[in-house]
């Protein structure tokens, strides 16, 4: 049993954090130049030859920085291609395509590949637009060899990791704020009605992180537990991120409710993650079936 990242992986995390904090709106091409696309694809297919556990670090850090580009959707599709290409990718779930306006190709559940054409819809989280594909009737779209299931697992697993990054940042913002804001002549973090919700967020974020890493390891190892682990991680991490943001907004008081403060962006991303691919209850249904039926 060794449940820790290696020194090389921690180094990747430091690099990713520094870069994404400074460049949350960097174009996807810059992330490609850094070697962050296709990390988990074997070298003979043009990838980085590492595993989904390495890639997991990037998803988490992208969430923490609220990275705006189509990194996640591209990275989860690349391992399904015969060879890593230079295009931006997305995948369709429940008729919705993240970043439809910013990608070149879309992979669908039947493994057909469709050009990214269609209507982009207004979304609550402005940094992660959704669109609906415009499909041409009777068009013989090319399709990829292989199955959708591994793509689905990578996509949901990556969202769980991203949610952990969101929860972590919401917690940090809350801790920073209550450590300096004073009311009644005291730092408000001394009041237990303020500090205890943040302690709960810490515990829940660490629990969600463990699930997300477990799921990432299962995906990387093609472990038979992967579908249940991913369902568990997506359910718990998304809910944790939503609640973490809500508690952080609350301890910020009025400033946390403003448009100018960054928290609402994290909150909206958390809700986006929770909704896409099914809310937590949908995934718990999968877990319940595995346990009880």
């Amino acid at each position: 049993m060794d449940f820790a990242f290696t020194q090389e992986q921690e180094e990747l995390r430091r690099e990713a954090r520094a870069f994404l904090e400074a460049n949350p709106d960097a174009p996807l091409s810059e992330l490609r130049e850094l070697g962050w696309l296709g990390v988990s694809v074997p070298e003979e297919r043009g990838g980085g030859g590492l595993s989904f556990v390495d890639e997991a670090i990037l998803y988490e850090e992208a969430g923490r920085a609220l990275y705006a580009g189509p990194f996640l959707t591209t990275a989860v599709v690349l391992p399904a291609l015969p060879e890593v290409d230079e295009q931006a990718w997305s995948a369709e779930m429940d008729g919705l395509v993240p970043h439809l306006d910013a990608v070149d190709q879309v992979l669908r559940e039947d493994m057909t590949v469709v050009p990214a054409e269609g209507e982009t819809l207004a979304t609550v989280d402005e940094t992660r637009p959704l669109g609906r594909l415009e499909l041409v009737a009777d068009n013989d779209y090319p399709s990829l060899d292989g199955e959708w299931e591994p793509v689905r697992l990578r996509l949901l697993g990556a969202l769980a990791l991203e949610a952990v990054g969101v929860a972590q940042r919401a917690l940090e913002l809350g801790v920073e704020y209550v450590s300096q804001r004073e009311q009644f002549g005291k730092k408000i973090g001394t009041y237990q009605a303020v500090s205890h919700p943040l302690a709960d967020t810490y515990v829940e974020t660490e629990l969600a992180r463990s699930l997300a890493y477990w799921a990432a390891w299962c995906v990387a190892e093609e472990d038979p537990q992967a579908p249940v682990a991913v369902a568990a991680a997506k359910a718990q991490a998304a809910e944790t991120a939503v609640v973490a943001c809500e508690r952080s907004i609350q301890v910020h008081g009025g400033i946390g409710f403003t448009w100018e403060h960054v928290l609402h962006r994290y909150y909206k991303r958390a809700q986006w993650i929770d909704a896409f691919g099914g809310h937590a209850a949908v995934h718990r249904k999968v877990v319940a079936a595995a346990l009880l039926d």
């Binding site: 060794d2 449940f3 820790a4 917690l171 237990q192 709960d200 515990v203 463990s210 477990w214 319940a288």
Partner: protein, 382 residues
């Protein structure tokens, strides 16, 4: 990162599992608490499973913490009875190893491992619960300077009714206040003036005791650490109580959830109940893997990772939810003590017992303070 047992861990697990198979008899499993507990604890000692992580020089196995984790998992899986010497093995022993004299180590440690002597803990008092620094049990140094005379009352002591020794936090300087002036003593529970009274709890049974000390003489060689330096010693004990707890608790919750799943399959569950069951199972995996992360850090650095600090807090509330969920699955029969032959009062007892989980070994409020102040670095609340 590799979440599988290493070949060495897998071998230890297989050997342990086989040992349990051939040694955990039905008599021990269903036997009376003390008799069966003594027999079981003796067997564990003979097989070298007592004090797994204790250093070899003190009779332990000197094994890595991962073995202790595997041990606790396998014990829970087999529904083995608790080791009678848990206070000695997990609290008194490590404290004596850290702060005791060579004479104390020689006198006590081997008998803790063999369960020849059973230990209890005298920390909480009627007026000192979460605030341990408020202890008033007094230890007056006799004029001859060779012994303390102890007077006072302790409460919530498990095993005190069968214990031979007590780790006791006393106030040795009557003019002192809070953390200063405390002295940590090892007290013979058979000494004149020690009286143990069972404390009947919410479940109707008496798992804990009150201990009354009236002019109890304790030789000065039974002081652990410095006279007046008892607070630091007590913190070592509590660190061990909370530090080694995570895996034991998670293993217990795992067995509880296994029973919950059996109950749900037997009685049927609504969609809402299925959702709640899935939620608890997910929480169990989360806390289990969080323990593994903390354990990995412990094995690499000697200090457990901070993420493990939430394990007891989460476990206590999860156990309360799980047991209530079981009562809900039983329906109106949940109010019948013996309404259901197979479970015969099990869940009713477990549910009431679970209310203590958020109070014992650090209330949830204290644990949240600790996380807020020591992990998140928030300003102190007091």
């Amino acid at each position: 990162m590799d979440l599988r047992d290493t070949p060495e861990e897998a071998a230890f697990r297989a050997e342990l599992r086989a040992w349990i198979e051939s040694n955990l008899t039905d008599e021990i499993r269903r036997g009376r608490f003390e008799e069966a507990g003594r027999e079981w604890s003796g067997k564990l000692y003979e097989a070298g499973y007592a004090g797994l992580t204790w250093p070899k020089q003190y009779g332990g196995a000197g094994a890595p913490y991962s073995h202790q984790a595997i041990f606790l998992e396998e014990m829970a899986r087999a529904e083995a009875p608790p080791h009678l010497g848990v206070i000695g093995l997990g609290m008194a022993g490590p404290t004596i190893i850290a702060h005791g004299t060579e004479a104390q180590k020689g006198r006590y440690l081997e008998k803790i491992l063999s369960t020849e002597e059973i230990w209890c803990q005298g920390f909480s008092e009627p007026g000192a619960g979460s605030d341990l620094s408020a202890v008033r049990t007094s230890a007056r140094l006799a004029l001859e300077g060779d012994r303390f005379v102890v007077d006072g009352q302790k409460v919530w002591s498990s095993f005190a009714h069968i214990a031979d020794w007590c780790i006791l936090v006393t106030r040795s300087d009557p003019d002192s206040d809070r953390h200063a002036g405390l002295t940590y003593l090892l007290v013979d529970m058979h000494a004149p003036g020690v009286e143990v009274r069972p404390l009947r709890q919410i479940t109707g049974e008496a798992e804990f005791n009150e201990i009354f000390f009236t002019d109890v003489e304790v030789p000065v060689e039974n002081v652990v650490g410095e006279i007046g330096g008892g607070w630091q010693v007590a913190m070592t004990t509590l660190l061990h109580e909370r530090g080694t707890l995570g895996f034991a608790l998670t293993a217990g919750l795992e067995s509880q959830i296994r029973k919950l799943l059996a109950l749900a399959k037997e009685r049927g569950a609504t969609e809402v109940q299925r959702d709640a069951i899935a939620r608890e199972w997910i929480g169990l995996q989360a806390v289990r893997y969080t323990n593994y992360r903390s354990l990995t850090t412990l094995m690499k650095t000697g200090i457990p990772g901070p993420e493990g600090s939430g394990a007891k807090l989460w476990w206590s509330e999860a156990n309360q939810r799980v047991t209530k969920l079981a009562l809900e699955l039983l329906g109106p029969e949940a109010q019948l003590l013996n309404g259901n032959e197979q479970w015969a009062g099990y869940w009713q007892h477990q549910q009431l017992r679970s209310r203590g989980n958020t109070i014992e070994a650090g209330t949830s409020e204290i644990l949240r303070n600790i996380i807020a102040e020591r992990v998140l670095g928030l300003p102190r609340s007091r």
